[in-house]
Amino acid sequence: MSSQLLLNNTQIHLMLQRLSREVLENYLNEEIFLIGIQPRGILLSEKIYTILQSISKNKVYHGSIDDTFHRDDFRRGKIVTANTTNISFEIEDKKIILVDDVLYTGRTVRAAMGALLMYGRPKKIELLTLIDRRFKRELPIQPDYVGQSVDTIENIQVKVDWNNKNNKVVFVN
């Protein structure tokens, strides 16, 4: 297995700052509700949450959602163990930002939206992602906030490696 560096720690740091500011531009004086998609979207949403708290006076909420029981690939060979969902705020009539590290086919985001709607009817759901793998979408889902868009061939994985001092995004072949 070989890997090729796509983004280094500095680039990711800048990207997180930019994504946070993009969110702020759309949420002037509004409460911000971030929900990370389990498992890996949590790490990204926590980082955005921390930055937003430090650069804005907006009230920021943070939660996580597990989409396991809403996936469409159950009983299709892939066995998935559930993670926990932790949403301590009402989502009814709120603008929610779903957060995931890599957007690929769109099926995870669809499942996460299904899971989220079990908690109520948000006013709006937006999507924030660090990496958007374009041209591989299987459902009509597009992100509202994107760190970087990349084009890949099918057998290449995009892996975000969260390591506090040395975050990186790599292509894995």
């Binding site: 597990d66 396991t68 029981f69 809403h70 159950f74 009983r75 299709r76 060979g77 066995i79 998935v80 163990t81 559930a82 993670n83 926990t84 969902t85 299904g114 899971a115 709607l117 079990m118 908690y119 109520g120």
Partner: protein, 308 residues
Amino acid sequence: MGQLSTKHLIAIEPLQTNDIELILDTAVNFKEVINRPIKKVPTLRDITIANLFFENSTRTKISFELAQKRLSADVVNFASSSSSVKKGETLLDTVNNILAMKVDMLVMRHPSPGACYFLADKIDAVILNAGDGTHEHPTQALLDAFSIREKLGTLKGKKIAIIGDVMHSRVALSNIYCLQKLGAEVTLCSPPTLLPKNIAELGVNISYNIDETLAWCDVANILRIQLERQQTQYFPSLREYAMYFGVNKTRLDKLKKEIVIMHPGPINRGVEITSDVADSHHSIILHQVENGVAVRMACMYLLANTTA
């Protein structure tokens, strides 16, 4: 990622500890699901489950049915009292006819021990035992273990007493296997006439003294006196049983510690347990009922994977 090592859930005895832990861990997530505003997930929307109850049941049947509906499965119910079994149809014929209608999973309660094993050899569908005679009641043991773990954090090293009619109880046998696999120490406490011969060979302690047992244990799982299964008189009277083996407030007040009180239901109030104990803060009986739905959802979710 986890997968059960078994296609069916017929008994706790053959399960590996990993299987039990996977079920309990998955049940934690389903407990969160059933406490959401919308208590339903679409996971089993392409599965049809038949509940075959050849013996009466209230809470187990409702618990399974709710679990199935909250997983979005299609559910059909069968009660032997209003079926062709009354006309002389065999168990295998009945089941094969139901399976011919494209049913994927069977939840079965049957008065004969081993009925699920008999079927498992002959059909393709997944079987989930909801109690077979005096043999096993695996989901009850799992929900009991889940409830203890939820209350005490772990079962490892905990002292659990099973008190009452062990002889006629399928819950007791499943509990013994399940609790021991998870590292708990088990004591059985009942009149000698209500203990099966050689039960000590399972590695449990035996006690005939309720006060000593309560003083020893962290958890008392109190079983119902199953008068309907008793052909002979195993003790002189219910009043005498209540005096010598009933768990009451006086006995609990004598203890210098808190213990957890459990009961699989239905309760004979005033016989094996008094109302003031059953309804006290020691009791987690209603938590057991709530957890039953989550644990059964977990079992069916994990077993459905084997039908792929």
